[in-house]
Symmetry: C2
Subunit: 560 residues, 2 copies
Amino acid sequence: MGNVKTDIQIAQENDMLPIIDIANQIGLKQADLNLYGNYKAKINWDAVDKLRDNKSGKLVLVTAISPTPAGEGKSTVTVGLGDALTKAGQRTMIALREPSMGPTMGMKGGAAGGGYAQVQPMEEINLHFTGDFHAITSANNALAAFIDNHLQQGNELDIDERRITWKRVMDINDRALRNIIVGLGGPTNGVPREDGFDITVASEIMAILCLATSIADLKERIGNIVFGYDRQRRPLTVRDLKMEGALTLILKDALEPNLVQTLYHTPALVHGGPFANIAHGCNSVIATQTALKLADYVVTEAGFGADLGAEKFLDIKVPVLGKTPDVIVIVATIRSLKMHGGIKVADLKNTTDPSAVKRGFSNLKKHIENMQRYHVPVVVAINAFTQDTKEEVAVVEAECERLGVSCQVTDVWGQGPEGGLKLAEAVVKASENKQDYTPLYECSNTIIEEKISRIVKEIYGGEEVLYTPKARQQLKQFTKNGWDKLPVCMAKTQYSLSDDPKKLGRPQGFTITIREFVPKIGAGFIVAMTGDILTMPGLPKQPAALNMDVLEDGTVTGLF
Amino acid sequence: MGNVKTDIQIAQENDMLPIIDIANQIGLKQADLNLYGNYKAKINWDAVDKLRDNKSGKLVLVTAISPTPAGEGKSTVTVGLGDALTKAGQRTMIALREPSMGPTMGMKGGAAGGGYAQVQPMEEINLHFTGDFHAITSANNALAAFIDNHLQQGNELDIDERRITWKRVMDINDRALRNIIVGLGGPTNGVPREDGFDITVASEIMAILCLATSIADLKERIGNIVFGYDRQRRPLTVRDLKMEGALTLILKDALEPNLVQTLYHTPALVHGGPFANIAHGCNSVIATQTALKLADYVVTEAGFGADLGAEKFLDIKVPVLGKTPDVIVIVATIRSLKMHGGIKVADLKNTTDPSAVKRGFSNLKKHIENMQRYHVPVVVAINAFTQDTKEEVAVVEAECERLGVSCQVTDVWGQGPEGGLKLAEAVVKASENKQDYTPLYECSNTIIEEKISRIVKEIYGGEEVLYTPKARQQLKQFTKNGWDKLPVCMAKTQYSLSDDPKKLGRPQGFTITIREFVPKIGAGFIVAMTGDILTMPGLPKQPAALNMDVLEDGTVTGLF
């Protein structure tokens, strides 16, 4: 650390290689790419298909402790670890989620790593990139328009306009669109009904794009989307509207993974970005799969803490991906551990408190145990900050040693790949262990309540699961609809292992209440809602956009 | 004609050249381009800037008679004329509008020409293309979100939420979004107010992008946008919200013109696509200007009939472009002339009726006179159909001869460039005439009523202009605001020279009522509304999307 350049300054000073050169490094030719300028490309469908028979490399999943306002730097460690593995001589690729433009305009902070561990070109990745999110927005809203048009044109399917569950989306933080009434203005202007907008990353189409394994699978999943119910309360699907072909057409290019590079020219696939609460929170299966076929090590990331992101990676994505992680890296910071140990964010500065670190380690320990439960080797990465003291770091190292887990201090933010070499070494070593992967549940033999019970008790460390009458009623309906064989996607606060964001560390003896379910039949999972999850963010009083500008020659300023 | 292949079949059978080769033809290098795959590229800002000192080629504006349901084929003639000029040995480029994805999903029919006169790759041009419309949608809606956020966060500017004129947009036909209420759901979810969505091509930002001459000019115009009024009814601008930098950033790439090719490899810039009623209806100034610097002949097009599209091209675009057309081509079909002569669309088939053609010629004649009023040489192009008879064609030829105007039958749809050679020859000949361009009005010396009076009397052939009390009131306000020096953009039905779509041919003795004005201060014009203009289309009962599909290997079907 000690470097005071901003992310965009570091990025703008860096020389990118032409993306064709990056592609050549991993054995791809120009004919395998659709270029988007000189530094971004989609790997085209023919090339993705051709790779399917290649041998798969090793998969490293980066996750974290329960996040705190102090920040963990998971994306930064993911990128830096990829660069360090490259520097250590391993043929490495990185697979990351695409950032959402909405939050970029709202809060300061991109999603392409930071410091000397970034993917490039960060300005474009953080704005329109290759248009994937725009395509998802278009497909989502085309479906909404066709539903309302069906109501308008005679309503052959007998859609109950009070039970349309499909919402419109926009990739902008816009709280005024959360609850709206559409179809006003008389008979030529549609059928009035309550509606609302989510942010694009919350669209079921985003989750589908990230789980689809081929164009045919994409179309199948889109056809399965349940957009609402008829007046007999029977579920209605996109297939009933005959829209699956057109929506797949709108998404055809978006399904191809995006190739970019890090500051140190490690190839990275940045593709897809579903929410980590109401969806599964990891980049596309297509991207991870493609990377595995092209590299010996693939470093990827899952959203939020390990209780949410990693659990979903393992229980929702892995069965589709057909490949389990060889190593799981859990990222923590001394600052965050201190917060889990009871220090307030305002008191963090200049507080050296090894005992708080020790108390806060309880959170990290639970996440370590959880990942070990799947029988995957775990490595802990301490993402270093200048304020960290030796005594504090020593606490974490000692506690990890007691658990037989490798713990490595990394400073990829300040030093680039050099700062991650020890972590890379530990990851390579851990990946050589024999695998004995054990899933949390067998999806098709386990009822939904049992799946939730396993997650709550074995992963969160809770005592009991409660269901509201509405949730109980829904479960009966789901069994009738044949949806009880689907995996569960928990929508829970990321800030605590419990459903109360204020309970830091390792809460115990708590119950989790399932308030309601949201079936995502196209994506292929049932979302279990444990509280209010905001699916359309708002803007702050001073949005980041107010500082952004572009000069006459096209130079961008104020973007981070 | 006689060829029964669909547009998409012809397009898919055609071999495109790599876009780099097309760029090389006009003296551009790879470094001047941002590639979007192999067959689309943006000419980057450095290259556009570098060309400004080049000599300009000749400009050919293609317009048409008042459109009828029989169709005129203006885009097809534009593309075919470009190909014919190329075949005749002229260094030629085409400048066209980008099609809107919304209507593509709704009605059959793209906007990339047809038959053997198309721009390529039509599948991509008709869907996301290079993402320009998505960027416009994002910028438009980011502004809307920031307005609502300003209301939410204390409303320092004292915005009157009943007088916010800025609407949200979407590139989808969605009538249910025409009239909505946003901000429902209590104090954390915004301030309730009436709102609505337009289709993206109706966004003022689309008009701005198409009139901006540089990044600095784009930012200036965006800053000038009036989004509503405060409680003292003072206009509020984007500059008051400090959003012009961020919005320009969102639009930075979209401002670069898109290079593609025709079936016969003529380079074409396809860029921007504002409405031709509530906006000025032509492709971007940047694209036309760039094409003029690269080619000896540039063929471009303006929306709807010459009373709307060409008038706006000449009175709104030309002053910004700084170049007047050297020739204006007016496209007509025998079928449309017969409709103007009183034949109903159902009776068109198998009706040979030279006298109806002669009656209908009155419409074409008025458009010829109008264009001659600007002192620009006119050429008439009859876009041939197999049903046309020699006698009918002879009527048009004779009438044109009487007016001293060259009239050429073209069949670029069925024959490609061969079918347009005579037209190309006539255009080259006409372009050698000495120019004596005479504008309809001097913008800065003429009050708004006088501008409208000139358009109505000299172009439409009307008797008188009436104003509603509201419009009169607005005019007073505009003078106070200093907006009376702006050009006028007429929003009128395209189907008639009058404001009554049923009055075909050459109506006379009619009045035009200006119901209200819509100031577009960022774009730099005042829209005069003569009737209800639908700015958000609806979907038909059987939308074209129902036939669209994409096969497992990525092949597109059913798109036209």
